[in-house]
């Protein structure tokens, strides 16, 4: 694959961003950072403009005047930057918050609580399947002791103390898994920049 101008731009900007963690704060990093921010904001602006033109301006042209409501409420959000008129922005904000709250309540209990609790009602012993039995026991013990850890009504000692301690270890295990997954994401991001560079200079396929 021929080396292209786009590859050169990519290498220059990526190396600029990498120069901060691999070396120290420097003008080259600042340049790359500003290029990134500017291109991202440009993309946001074009995206918003295009969406407005397609999905708000077009229906308005057809005479669907209901679309005037979001067209008015949207700019009102920017009143928040004025001390004198910031109260106006609350009209739009309250609508957004109200709608978002109402929508998140819808099905929230089913999704976030009931289904998750139901999924922990597992058979502790599955005939002929030792691994599944072990897995189910770990899930049930993990859930019960994990919840016990946050039970603060009375002093945790004796059997509740043991349960709470096991719960703490279970939570630590879960956090360990979360950490591992997070590392995977960070490596994915890093690799996602390294591979194109290696491909551009012909070191990788």
């Amino acid at each position: 694959m021929a080396f292209q101008i786009a590859d050169a731009i990519m290498i220059v900007t990526v190396c600029g961003i990498f120069s901060l963690p691999l070396y120290k704060e420097n003008p080259y990093y600042r340049f790359a950072e500003h290029v990134f921010l500017a291109s991202m904001l440009g993309n946001y602006f074009v995206g918003a403009y295009k969406y407005l033109m397609t999905n708000v301006a077009n229906p308005l042209m057809r005479g669907e005047i209901a679309y005037l409501i979001p067209l008015i409420l949207g700019p009102l959000l920017y009143a928040s930057i004025s001390k004198k008129y910031s109260w106006i922005s609350r009209i739009s904000f309250s609508l957004i918050v109200g709608l978002a709250t109402g929508l998140s309540i819808r099905g929230g209990a089913t999704v976030n609580i009931i289904a998750n609790v139901r999924s922990t009602f597992l058979a502790l012993f599955v005939a002929g399947d030792l691994l599944t039995s072990l897995n189910n026991i770990i899930v049930v013990v993990g859930v019960v002791t994990g919840v016990a850890y946050f039970f603060m009504t009375f002093k945790q000692e004796g059997i509740t103390g043991i349960g709470s301690k096991i719960g703490r270890y279970m939570i630590m295990l879960a956090l360990g898994a979360l950490f591992g997954n997070t590392i995977m994401t960070r490596f994915a991001y890093l690799g996602g920049r390294l591979l194109p560079i290696l491909q551009a200079i012909g070191l990788a396929k």
Binding site: G47, T54, R106, G107, M184, R193, L194, L195, A204
Partner: protein, 284 residues
């Protein structure tokens, strides 16, 4: 410790300049990208469940393809997106591409997909087999609005063609007309689809999730609220493997294994050093 006193190897290890570690990681990750190691990949149950969910769809079904990630997420989930789209097209399932993510990047990710794998739309006709609606801002509000009325939320496709002039959109008005939902997310998208699509219309939902959200998504999958899960870059590589077309994600797997192995080694050494210093010096 007094000035001039010789540091032990463990003390020096604990105070090592982080930049040395970062350089080491960068170089270490480059090695398997240049010289692939071919470490085998096992297909996990959640990924297999995604594959089976797609396989169970009849030809002509309508898939909702939500690229809810931004351009930065392509290294992790681009492989999932490409493999999934290829699988849908191969099974003659029609796809509506949309992006309800925080950033209006779905068309850029779509461009990346076509650049990386132009074959995914080979012999397919735009408007008949797939359509790009583009970014729809609003996050959960837009997901709920789309469930209630797709044509009421989006007026035209990404290129400005009115939806009523696009053959694939004929007869599609709300979430009830969608058979399968695939969503790539770095956060809460799957919960929005479960709440406003799955719970209301019973759509089959599968998720491609970034690493930090995998724990939550696995719980949701085990609860039966989603049909399957492509977990991070590994899920992407597994999906490439199961669909028989190794791609970009598999290239990263050796790198992931090497990098994770290094982190594990550093953690073991760090803890070992701590224990030796604490108990070796008689400190309690």
């Amino acid at each position: 410790m007094n000035a001039g006193e010789k540091k032990s190897i463990w003390e020096r290890f604990e105070t090592i300049d982080p930049r040395i570690v970062r350089w080491f990681v960068v170089i270490l990750l480059c090695v398997p990208l240049v010289v692939p190691l071919g470490i085998p990949i096992r297909i996990s149950e959640p990924t297999r469940a995604v594959y089976e969910a797609v396989e169970s769809l009849p030809e002509g079904s309508i898939a909702w393809f939500d690229i809810g990630i931004d351009l930065g997420g392509i290294a992790e989930q681009g492989g999932s997106a490409i493999a999934m789209f290829r699988h849908l097209m191969r099974n003659n399932i029609k796809a509506i591409i949309v992006g309800t993510g925080q950033t209006p990047d779905c068309h850029l990710v779509w461009g990346y997909m076509l650049e990386q794998a132009p074959d995914i739309i080979r012999d397919k006709i735009y408007g008949e087999d797939y359509v790009l609606l583009g970014p729809v801002p609003g996050q959960e509000l837009s997901v709920a609005a789309l469930a209630a009325s797709i044509v009421g939320t989006v007026d035209a496709d990404f290129y400005g063609t009115p939806l009523d002039e696009i053959p694939i959109m004929e007869g599609i008005s709300d979430g009830a007309d969608i058979d399968f939902v695939w969503v790539a997310t770095a956060g809460e998208h799957h919960n929005w689809y479960i709440r406003h699509w799955g719970e209301v219309y019973g759509n089959v939902i599968t998720v491609a999730m970034t690493g930090p959200g995998v724990g939550d998504a696995v719980a949701v999958w085990q609860a039966g609220l989603i049909a399957g899960l492509q977990a991070s870059q590994r899920g992407a590589a597994e999906y490439e493997l199961i669909t028989g077309k190794p791609g970009v994600a598999i290239k990263y797997m050796d790198m992931q294994s090497t990098g994770q192995g290094f982190i594990l080694l550093v953690m073991i050494l760090g803890n070992l050093g701590y224990v030796i210093r604490k108990y070796g010096s008689g400190e309690k």
